[in-house]
Symmetry: C2
Subunit: 191 residues, 2 copies
DNA sequence: TATTGTTATACTCTATAACTATA
DNA sequence: TATAGTTATAGAGTATAACAATA
C-alpha cells in the first residue's frame, strides 16, 4: 500500500483528549447520515478519533511491543538474534544447568517453543544438553564456549539498547518509572 | 509439559536486585565447573537470575502484551473478537467513511491485514465498503446496523476491561501514569 | 507510470496433541 | 501411570510480492 507519508500525518498516537483542537470538530452524525464521506485525498487533513481506546493499555502494548521487536532485530542484525532469544541466552548463561522445564517457566514459553529454540541454539553451537545423572528424563542446559562468547557480545548490545529505542522521548527517570510500573503490573497480573 | 505449580514458584517477574536474599546465593562458578547441577526436583527451591534483562522493556512488553491479549480474548469469548479487531471497529465506527489505506495508517496494520480483517467483518455483516465517488479505486468503510450494535456491546465490555486486567495490582493513579508514559513513548519512538 | 485495494504466500510466535523414554 | 522432552501441526499476527482496476 505504501502510504508512509500519509501515515505520518494521520494521528499517530491516539489523542488523549479527542476533541481538543476545537476548530476541526468532526461532524460525525451528519456524515454518518449522509453516507458519503471525504475522499481519500483529504486524508492527511483528517484526524482519526480513537474514542475511549486511546486510554487503553492494549493498544500501546501492541504497538510498542512490535516496535521494540523491530528495533531490536535491526539493531542486532549482525548477530541474528531476536529479543526472546537474547533473554533465553542470558538466563541459560546466568543459571547453568537449568532444565528445559525450568526455562519454560522462567521465560514464559511452552515446552515446544523451548525445544525448538534449544534445537536452534544447538545447531549454532551455542548450547549443549547433558542428560541429568539424577533423572535420565531431564536434560541440563549449558552454554558452550561459543555461547559464552555470544553472550558477551549481547551484553554490549543490550547495554544501551533501551536508550536507543526510547531516544530522547523519555528521561532516565521516566524510563525507570515505566519499567517499575510494568514490573509491578507483571508481578501482580492474573493470567 | 504442564508444570504450572513449578512456574508459579519460580521467579515470576525477574528480580531487580539479583542477589537480595543473601542466604541462597547461587554457587554459579562451582556448578559451572563441575558440569552437573541440581536435578529438576530441586526446581522450586531455585531462583532464576535474569541479570541485566530484569531492567529491560522488551521482556515486560512481551509478557504483558501476551497476557493482555489472552485476558481480553477470554473476557470477550462470547463476542468472538480480538483486541485489534475491537480497535478497528471503534475507529471505523467513530470515523465513518475511512478508506482501507487510512485504516492501515491509523491502526498500524499493513494493507493486506486490513483487507483480511475487513473481509472477515464483511462476512459477519458488520461493515460495508462503498466505492468512492471521487476516486473509483478507493473504498469507504462504514459500519452496518449490526456493526453499530456490536460496537455498543464492545463499549460496555471495554469500559472496565483494563481494571479487570490490572486487578488490584496498580492504583488508578498508577494506571493513568502508566498509560501516560506509554502514550508519550509511542508518540516519540523511532520506528 | 503510480496508486488503491486485493490475493497469495511466507515467516514468526504461540499453542495443542501425540509420541519416546524414562520414572 | 505419570513426567520430561520432543515432534508435528495448526492458529494468530505480520510482512512481501504480484496482480487488477483506476488514476
Amino acid at each position: 500500500m505504501g502510504s508512509k507519508i500519509l501515515a505520518a500525518r494521520l494521528l499517530q498516537p491516539p489523542v488523549a483528549t479527542p476533541s481538543k483542537p476545537g476548530a476541526a470538530a468532526r461532524p460525525d452524525a451528519s456524515r454518518d447520515a449522509a453516507g458519503e464521506a471525504e475522499p481519500a485525498e483529504a486524508a492527511d487533513a483528517r484526524r482519526v478519533d480513537f474514542g475511549p481506546l486511546s486510554q487503553y493499555l492494549g493498544y500501546y502494548l501492541r504497538r510498542l511491543h512490535e516496535g521494540y521487536r523491530k528495533h531490536f532485530i535491526s539493531a542486532a542484525a549482525d548477530l541474528a538474534v531476536q529479543p526472546r532469544e537474547v533473554g533465553a541466552l542470558f538466563v541459560i548463561g546466568l543459571n547453568p544447568g537449568l532444565t528445559p522445564s525450568q526455562l519454560s517457566a522462567a521465560l514464559a514459553m511452552d515446552g515446544a517453543q523451548i525445544t525448538a529454540m534449544l534445537n536452534m541454539f544447538d545447531a549454532r553451537g551455542l548450547i549443549e544438553r547433558r542428560v541429568s545423572s539424577l533423572d535420565a528424563r531431564s536434560r541440563l542446559v549449558y552454554l558452550t564456549a561459543a555461547g559464552k562468547k555470544m553472550l558477551q557480545r549481547l551484553r554490549k548490545l543490550v547495554g544501551g539498547f533501551d536508550r536507543s529505542f526510547v531516544g530522547e522521548t523519555l528521561t532516565d527517570a521516566e524510563m525507570q518509572q515505566l519499567v517499575a510500573l510494568l514490573m509491578k503490573l507483571l508481578a501482580g497480573v492474573r493470567e
